[in-house]
Amino acid sequence: MENFYIEGSKGIYFIPTVNFNADTGVCELSGESYLEETIKFYTPLIQWLERYFEEVGKPLTFNFKLTYFNTSSSKCIVDILNLLKKYKDKGHDVTVNWYYDDSVEDIEDELEEVEDFMLETGLEINLIPMSKARDKESKDNKKNQGDK
């Protein structure tokens, strides 16, 4: 199954970056999602996930790294989470991570939003501060350089 990639844009279109990898089972949605035609944008993402579940059927990790999203996008995020929940309920290994920017003072709104996603879909979402993720990435890079 082919991978799925869309380059995000912040200037005019507010499109998030989509990076779905069928080989590793890691899917990432990052950047900003303030689209007007949300369903049109998110439908291929949902279709790709449905195909992955049918054709690949391996564990899946979904990383959300969204900094801004509108309510119309949040409806599509719920659709994705509901789909992941169904896959998990069938006995598959599903991990959902939500990365948030802990460098800003007011993160209550965002954390509340993630809590609502969990309540709404019954799916567990791991909250990961971006600073922690960056530290880990930096340590991994150093380790890799040391290995070489």
Partner: protein, 183 residues
């Protein structure tokens, strides 16, 4: 229609009478939203970073409301049919204000004001519960701008203010305002 545009010209002048930061009148499209959002971010990010994110969210939801639901349509810069209206962003001493104004049919105005009244009567928890309930409906059953307005109330933490100015037998000009505290 030209006549209608003239009719609400005085309302716009009235809205702009105080000191304002950014205002726009016309078809709402993504180019415009991006430009205004960038200006708002630049204007507020340094002095009030905590409010910037809230302003941005409120601004996007209210402007997309015009783009989708205004009774007056225009052709946007990217050649799409889009709702026409006015967006004003103001900075005052204690808070920021995001105003939008657009034409709407009398029946839409009745439904909209009823919706805003019920949103304003809800606590923070009730708003969250209501948002989850609405979001779980099918896309087609979600209703016009429901979640957007709930989100505006949740993010701003203040009641949504509105004013309806009848223009003729069928149409009114509706102004929606959201106040975002600086701290």
């Amino acid at each position: 229609m030209q006549e209608q545009a003239t009719d609400y010209k005085y309302i716009i002048e009235e809205l702009k009478a105080d000191v304002f930061a950014i205002s726009y009148l016309g078809a709402i499209d993504r180019n415009l939203l991006a430009l205004m959002a960038k200006n708002i971010e630049e204007k507020t990010a340094e002095t009030t970073p905590t409010a910037t994110k809230k302003i941005f969210k409120v601004f996007i939801e209210l402007s997309q409301n015009i783009a989708l639901y205004s009774a007056e349509r225009g052709i946007s810069s990217d050649s799409h049919s889009s709702g026409q209206g006015i967006i004003i962003f103001k900075e005052l001493n204690e808070y920021f204000l995001v105003f939008t104004g657009n034409m709407a049919s009398k029946s839409d105005v009745i439904a909209l004001t009823k919706k805003i009244d019920s949103i304003n009567a809800m606590s923070h928890k009730e708003l969250r519960d209501f948002k989850r309930k609405m979001r779980n409906l099918k896309h087609t059953d979600m209703g016009r701008g429901n979640i957007g307005l709930i989100q505006v109330a949740l993010v701003s933490g203040n009641p949504i203010e509105y004013k309806v100015i009848p223009l003729d037998e069928e149409k009114s000009f509706v102004i929606i305002a959201s106040k975002i505290n600086k701290n």
